[in-house]
Subunit: 199 residues, 2 copies
């Protein structure tokens, strides 16, 4: 058992958990699994986390922080290019943390709780805010707001299906999602005249 | 306390609960609220339900049965007309049971459980199946399957926002949702050649 700063030790336990999630369904991972893989005592584990529930939340927060970081759209390119980069980055994070991502989003999952739901809602809101900012929409119409949230739900559902079924190449899925956003925005513009142009 | 058949009595308790949900947030409704409004004893209540959790599930099942019944698309008209009728019927049920509907679908809701999640998932699957049947799609492509599920998520999110914000007339929302499905299907067809024509 190597000496580490408390902060680094906490990070290590989260990293170990994320690594185990890749092999074992998260809801089946025990404190012993984590302490065994990290080569630390149970007493040390409980200095950082009250139990697996708290570690699950910390692991999700880590994935979310990585996702938010990666999808923050780079400036300078066209909005359409920024969108594609962001969706690609999103799928990169989803793929890297596939098992934890599925377990946390799956409705009725043992490790999905009020707290993880709130974190996931935060990511949804963040993506909608990014789309509005980059698209120059300060005051979206009600239908425009529904369109953006609906597209985020489409991305989320598609990413879960994609991970579970592996039937569509990632590049094709990314292109399809970007085009779907354009199609949905165009239809909403047709209905109420609001615009968010992805060019 | 009138005499009733056990079946009718159970229905009565569910009806009373749905009526109370219109005034009191479902998670705050107590057994006493229900027995008081139904003019029955607590002992009688517990002959039908183990507690409020079980009554919530029964109430949701009642709403779902009503919804499935109403949205079963009538034959004879064009597919586009059938779709519009079904979406209108969906919103009729949503509006009539607004408070229970919001409480049951809201992520992290006290009365949303694994059991209610499974019931809600069943409705989503039912709507996708209806769309496939009426659109003549026996073996949807992966993107087509994602499109149909994504549109159902759009309808669900839009209905929750619509109930909570009341900013869009119901007819406008129904027309917008039907047109969004057409736009999403056209874009998917453009990507993989699959077709579901709503005419």
């Amino acid at each position: 058992m190597r000496r580490m700063s408390p902060e680094r030790r906490r990070e290590q336990l989260i990293e170990v958990a994320l690594e185990i999630y890749g092999r074992v369904p998260p809801e089946q991972v025990t404190v012993d699994d984590v302490t065994g893989a990290a080569d630390v005592s149970r007493a040390l584990f409980y200095r950082y986390f009250r139990g697996m529930d708290e570690l699950h939340v910390a692991a999700l927060s880590t994935i979310v922080a990585e996702m938010v970081d990666r999808i923050s759209l780079p400036a300078g390119e066209s909005v359409a290019d920024q969108l594609r980069s962001a969706v690609e980055a999103f799928f990169g994070v989803v793929e890297r943390h596939a098992e934890a991502y599925v377990a946390l989003l799956r409705s009725g999952s043992v490790i999905s709780t009020d707290q993880t739901d709130a974190i996931v809602d935060g990511v949804r809101d963040h993506i909608v805010t990014l789309l509005r900012e980059r698209g120059g929409i300060t005051d979206p119409s009600p239908l425009m707001a529904m369109t953006l949230r609906g597209w985020v739900a489409l991305v989320e559902g598609a990413s879960l299906t994609w991970l579970q079924e592996q039937k569509v190449p990632r590049d094709e899925l990314v292109a399809w999602l970007c085009d779907q956003l354009a199609a949905m925005l165009a239809m909403t513009s047709h209905h109420d005249g609001s615009e968010l142009v992805l060019e």
